[in-house]
Amino acid sequence: MKQLWLTAKLDIVESLRARWFQIYTLVFGGIVALLFLFGLTESRVLGFIGLSRLLVTYIQLTMAILPIFVLITTVRSVAGDREAGVFEYLLSLPVSLSAWFWGKIVGRYIVVFAPVFLAMLGAVGWATIQGIEVPWEMFSYYTALLAVMAMCFLGIGMLISAVARTTDMAQGAAFLVWLTFLLFLDLILLGVMIQGKVAPEFAVTLALANPLQVFRTAALALFDPQLIVLGPSAYVILDLFGTTGYKIFALVYPATLGVLSATIGYFLFRRGDLP
């Protein structure tokens, strides 16, 4: 356990000094600041006003940015470290492979989740000072959603890093994974279903398997229970699960996918050449 925390701490310190982290923090801090600046808390959409309006917009933007950011930075730094000889040196020290791999994940997870969460927490703090009502239930669920989103894409990123031997290959694979998730968002599914070339069950299964779609549906379901703004596949899914059931599924499935990906990544990592 000591080795795991030492590795996690090491990864946190390395990340805090990396440029990607500074940009990452700036992006999420900047989003919240801009949303306040443009008076989003005073505008109304679908009955939402105040902080809940801001949180809805924030999570939508986060869903667009976080996955690709986490995927690319994770594979870049892990595969880059391997190529640059960091693994060769640090893995010559007496640290177990499990402590090293999971320690890196823990450290990276803290670094990835903290700015996103702190930006949201900052918004809540500012709203409290301004006397704007805080929707705690929404805030809690969105926090959980962001936590599993980070876990999911970090796990996938670590799996790609374990498989790819070069930074270029890892980056390419990460981009391809993200693009695939993006392509199978609801709009594409809708088009496919309209054309009637695949069974609706298959389209629904795809939507259920795509973590991006799962997050999107879960986030929207909070303020649009009928899912009018979404396509039919999301509606069918919600009908199957119910609102609460889907909210739970939206947390459990991506978290499982992330942990499973990371676990497969770990076994591949320990089975092959380390540097």
């Binding site: 000591k2 080795q3 030492l6 701490k9 090491l10 310190v13 390395e14 000094r17 990396a18 640059a84 000889g85 960091v86 693994f87 060769e88 040196y89 640090l90 893995l91 010559s92 020290l93 007496p94 640290v95 177990s96 492979l97 089975r271 092959g272 050449d273 380390l274 540097p275």
Partner: protein, 285 residues
Amino acid sequence: MIKFSNVAKDFRKARVLDGISLDIGIGERVALIGSNGAGKTTLIRCLLGEYTHDGEVTINGLDPRNNRTQVLGTIGFVPQLPPPLKMPVGQLIDFSAELCGTDPQRIHDIAKRLGLDIDAILTRQFVRLSGGMKQKLLIAIALGREAKVLVMDEPAANLDPEARKIFFDLLAERQNEATMIISSHRLDEVSSLVNRVIEMDLGKVVLDDRVADDVSLASTLNCRIVVKRAEPAFAKAIGAWKFAGSDDGLIWEGSIAGADRLRFHGMVARYIALVNDISLTEVTN
């Protein structure tokens, strides 16, 4: 102590190690030499448990891959190229010391002996240090613990003569209790440090020779060189070895580490037409 039994390694069907079998005992100082692509680094990585391979590698009967913390706790490793770590020097020392169960002060002390003031660079990023500073720090981390095996890849390449002398002293202090494997693609860089030479080529051991152990790692050679005329290029080269010259630039005196004699001769050989007289006297410390 260290046993390689029929070790083989392929990279995409290319055979990089081809049935290596070696026994290296305690107290042996091995020069692992060979041209680029000979398989030296791959062999070292197999020894460190970083590569999967056919055959068997054991250190004191233990497989370094399956008993990582136990085996690597006894190995001090200095890589040829320092890793581009962004962490501060202080954290790297604390991280290594904690993993290896040693007191960070030991690392500080060895670095100080090598001429590196750790306190002044504690908060500086490792990657921002000069090549020589990085090398000294990595040596200090490797030697600042109870390592029974020292694996070093061109360890003295970035060190100035003074630091090299101290480095040889540090190795001399360990020579009876530790096994050393020093990798280099040039024998003259390491020949005086070792008592066994293993040459590799195309993944095979092509030479395994025990050499006379006449040179004490801790010895010093007092040297006096007389040149025909004062020559700025020679003055600069000999000045790098901390030699003092006479006012007319014709007589130069200084001392060199015994283990550095071949390297020193290599430098002097470049100006051999200029040399009138040279004397070397060994002083064992």
